[in-house]
Amino acid sequence: MNALEIKNLTKHYKSFTLNNLSLTLPGGCIMGLVGENGAGKSTTLKLILDIIKRDSGTITVLGCSDQADMTLVKQDIGVVFDEPAFPLCLNARQIGAVLKHTYTNWDDEHYLHLLTRFSLPLDKEFKDFSRGMKMKLSIAAALSHKAKLLLLDEPTGGLDPVVRDEIVDILFDFARDEEHSILISSHIVSDLEKLCDYIAFLHKGELLLCDEKDKLLSQYALVRCSKEQFNQLPESAVRHKKQTPYYVDAMMLRQDIPSGFEAFPVTIEDLFLFMVKEGE
């Protein structure tokens, strides 16, 4: 079963439109939503959670497409927003007590285990936590009710590399279970590259691309050459290009690269930047 199916999802705002978004997250997989600030990542997650109303399109979450049943479906969804949002005066113990009455599958032991693993104090108020601690507490809460789907909005934004790496490890642990899926949005592409099976590029409300990460990395290659050399490349083979006064970088499908040209592996970040910048 697919964890998430989005078809022709559209949401209009005065100055922004999420336009006709369609994507599918297969069960047991991790998908990264990559996009610059304001690309529509958070809007997509809010629409999935039915926090805002869609203008058109359908969303099926864990097999349920009926908005009336979303409250029930949310029992199986763990959510982490870019800004951790527990009441500021509550401590981790009180937050656990509130969530225990929120989720039918709440696992107190697992929650306490995660708090210990993350070295989070039980009696310190949420407002006195550092950003990294707040994010870890949000993740602990999202992982303590046997969720099948995690929706994470910029969970590593503004964190130092050590904490980011720790969070990526935690998410890896969660994704080991074949029933668990993650949709994670971020503009820190390197984190997503480590973590994801699928990558979706969003730019100004449009889905530029959605495919398996390994497929993308094996399909595309980067060719750096002079302007003269670039002119020898078949025009139809060059998917994207970046020109400087000294050289030209060409993003090409590996199979289309003529012999004699040296091909370099691409990163997801390269691919995204090429697609976005050329579009501009």
Binding site: L49, K74, F81, C89, L90, V98, K100, H101, Y103
Partner: protein, 210 residues
Amino acid sequence: MKALLLKDWYMAIKYCRVYLLLAVLFMTISVFSESSMDMFYIIYPCLLCGMIPVNLLSYDERSGWIKYSAALPYTKVQIVTSKYIFGILCQLVMLIATGIVQAVKTAVAGVFDPIEFLFIMFTVLMVSALSGSMALPFVFRYGTEKGRMAYLITVGVICAVSMAGNSIIAKIMLIPSGTALMSPVFIIIGVLIYFVSWKLSCTFFKNREL
């Protein structure tokens, strides 16, 4: 719902201690007041308690909990209802506390009249229903920042009602059997105010994009 009430309880303990202090202060003043049943000292603490949910909502907005709670398995109706229930509970506790103090005071003075006492309690219940009920629909519709104007208007109404309360009650008390007749009317008005306000809040909050 239980989770939301528990969260509000934790927050109220932290943020609303001043209400308790004010209530104790008013009760103390009312004990030493020369008037046998001064409405202001009875109504005001209950009116203040009606504003507790509005206060808690502003903390919820500031922390981002409002948006986050919409992503949790609560319905928007549950989020609204929990605030109303919490407000009613606070007002009832305050009403009982002030009622006990007033009952003891009038009993000691030898002027305790059970019908008059119940009438005054029901009146307080109706008037205090106004406080939270007036502000909450605006706050659920526009948020605490934009709903602040409604909050200020509510405070103005509270003050006017508190001042007018004494004379209105006094006039009703002059009518034979007035207190016995008006008590059920006041209960019905109080319940209606709460119901209409709750219904409006639910509709506004359902349509609000967080």
